[in-house]
Amino acid sequence: MGIITVNKMKKIAVLSGKGGSGKTFVSTNLSNVIHSSTYLDCDVEEPNGYIFFENNKLIANNTVYREIPTFDEEKCVGCRKCVDFCKFSALAFIGNKPLLFDEVCHSCGGCELVCEYGAIKNKKVDIGNIEIYEKGDKKIVSGKMKIGEASAVNLISEVLDQARGTTIVDCPPGSACSTMEAIKGAEFCILVTEPTIFSLHNIQMIVELVELFNIPYGFVLNKSDESIDYIIEDYINSIDKPLLAKIPFSKDIATQTANGKLVSDNDPIARDIFVSLADDLERKGILK
């Protein structure tokens, strides 16, 4: 008789209102203290999380494609069906012919289906690549968008397919489409912020986003400073959500991070913070 092992997958998305708030810092260090975790870097315009996992081993590098329509002028009768069908307004109709705006196209494939004259064929275009690394029991996945590519959504969705076990998703900053894609399927969101008025404003937009998706969430306060933490803490209390961890502002942490080091490996205090963050998530039933 065999034993059925269910590999339970838990996805935790890490978000911040703007770049540089410590989103990658929190996601890499959190993955680092969780056994057999997967770190997915969905900040595809600037994926740099993999750098922190020193001595990692690249095990795969896959090109990612999306499909966009091409038009056969000979077969096209100018019926305009495809143009009227496209919900994303990626097609214009000029001189009786459809004209594609490929950066607006969402690769839904619909226009090819509605053309009754076989004038539309989809072709693959390269939108970026996914690098998969291994380090010890950890899996590290980095999505890199090709320069000039306007939409990160397809690439992020492929990065998410690499989830395995406890998965930490490093989301793109802000609250645009790409961030919405990255939090898909997440069981919990960690909102990383700093104690400044500017960060407060930004994080409120992220709160709106995760509320919209109805995903439970909590906060991590980075560069915490007792004299100004109230800026964020008062807000967190007012919406009655958990403050999961405070990471004190420290030159040492900043220097190590700037040098591409994981503080959870090198600084015992920082390690404790991340271990108790992971424990806290486990107690909340989010891990395991």
Binding site: K87, S89, A90, L91, A92, F93, G95, F101, S151
Partner: protein, 120 residues
Amino acid sequence: MKIGIALMEKNIEKDINQTFARAPYFAIYNSDNKEVVYFDNAAKDASGGAGVKAAQFFVDNNVDAIIAYRLGENAVQVLTKSNIKLFAPREELTAINNINLLIDNELNTLVDIHSGYHHG
């Protein structure tokens, strides 16, 4: 000649809207009979290429010229490929005054073209 503009209110005595594709209303002025027709801008809430959609609206209505403060690249491509001329309004004047200037050939060609705002 048919002239297209974007408006904040359905009134050409008011100013031209600062933005084009996501303006609340459009108007088309026909200089032959001095008639103006107002439209709700369906591209305003477009989930994708608002610029393409807004420009397509004016192409489908056979306008000859557009007066706009600034246009996105995609809108410009659709409009110019359809031989629609693009003009920049004078800031201090109302929509109708700008239209009259254009008819008198007194407006400059539009140069303010932005690279567009992507949906995400």
